[in-house]
């Protein structure tokens, strides 16, 4: 009994309890990131390959869902056209908090090679992005790495934020 020198009731014990709750919640969140099936162009093929058996996203707890309401993660895989921009916003709004966004490929990051009138020059003009994944197209390994980096980022976050701050508007 002598080792128990720490007075756990000091400070109401609150900070200690909160960090561990954060950790537990973030552990859960980071290891079951359900991604939305959202392939917009050729990058979508690599995203599908990551989900399929060879690269096997399921081991990371990343399962593709067909509905924004069931997903935590939006992987914007491909070219976002200006006509489609309002729908990406709508889908993003339909996702429940907490939600994360990976912008996959040059097109989603900056418009990529489509330096034209019809392409949104970077998906971060519409929705806040957590992770930019360069490449055209990024290989499945890279996407897996991106998801692992995002998991790391989630683990460092506070769990109890009501609303994540938005960079845009």
């Amino acid at each position: 009994m002598a080792q128990h020198q720490v007075n756990y009731t000091q400070d109401g014990g609150l900070p200690v309890a909160l960090t561990s709750v954060d950790k537990v919640i973030n552990w859960g969140r980071s290891n079951s990131l359900w991604a939305m099936t959202y392939g917009l162009a050729c990058c979508g093929i690599e995203m599908m390959a990551s989900g399929a058996s060879r690269y096997d996203f399921d081991r990371f707890g990343t399962i593709f869902r067909a509905s924004p309401r069931q997903s935590d993660l939006m992987i914007v895989a491909g070219t976002l056209t200006k006509k489609h921009a309002e729908f990406i916003k709508r889908l993003y709004d339909q996702m429940a908090e907490p939600r994360w966004v990976i912008s996959m490929g040059s097109c989603a990051n900056t418009g990529g090679m489509f330096n034209t009138y019809a392409t949104v020059q970077g998906v971060d003009r519409i929705i806040p992005v957590d992770l930019y994944l360069p490449g055209c197209a990024p290989r499945p390994e890279t996407l897996q790495y991106a998801v692992m980096m995002l998991q790391k980022k989630i683990r460092a976050e506070k769990a109890g934020r009501a609303q994540r701050p938005k960079r845009l508007v």
Binding site: M113, N115, A118, Q121, D124, Y145, Q151, R167, V169
Partner: protein, 268 residues
Amino acid sequence: MRKYVPKDDVQKKAYYTDRFWVAPQVAKSPVETDAVFAADLEAIKAKCEVLDAYIQVDQLVVLINPNDNFTVAQILKEECGYNQLSECSAIDWLAKQKQFEVFYQFLSMSKRKRMRVKCFIDKEQAVESLNPLYRSADWAEREMYDMFGVKVNNHPYMKRILMPDDWVGHPLLKTYPLQGDEAASWYEVDRIYGKEARDIIGPENRESAVVDRYDTERFGRLGHEVARGSEFDENQPVTPLAYQEEGGVFIVKKFQEDGAVTITDRKR
């Protein structure tokens, strides 16, 4: 096998050609050289005025008055057996002659022949829809309207097909800038957030190669991560690339590089 062409010094030769270079025309031959086409042309001439007609790349080309386009298509379909309208669109010659060229490409499955009907229209002039004759004209004419602003009379659903309905301008006009005009560059911002948000979101970055590595608000450079919004300094220490924290994560195993096996034998 393809013939071998020596590739030495190919780079030295100029491969750049003028963007507005006009390709030389393929040789035209008179219509009389092909009996099938000559009969088709006679059928058209019986009812409509033909301004020009010739054969080019084994295809009959007929230039007509724009008001006759429906009649000509009807003749071609009902009398000459051209049962498919494979394509229809316009060409912007506004700079050269203040006119659009509207062309219709027909295919006859029974005669195994292709032919093209062309007409020139003025800027605000509308053409008659071929939709009652050929269903493929429906979308093709909508695309023509969307891309060039050429209106089509008696079309069942004259609306943009590719661009959004509230788009400004017609993108395939030669006067339309490739990177979009003012309305195009703010389109998604105006539509989703409203004009007020323009200042917050800012203009488009058209230099896609530029990534501002000193921008710590949005980017954390992999391997050189600093706290969000902090000043970036040249002597930033290199942070090791790791996908997992030092302490490890409950249940999740960390990959140990020393313990890993590299498989070289694919059949293993």
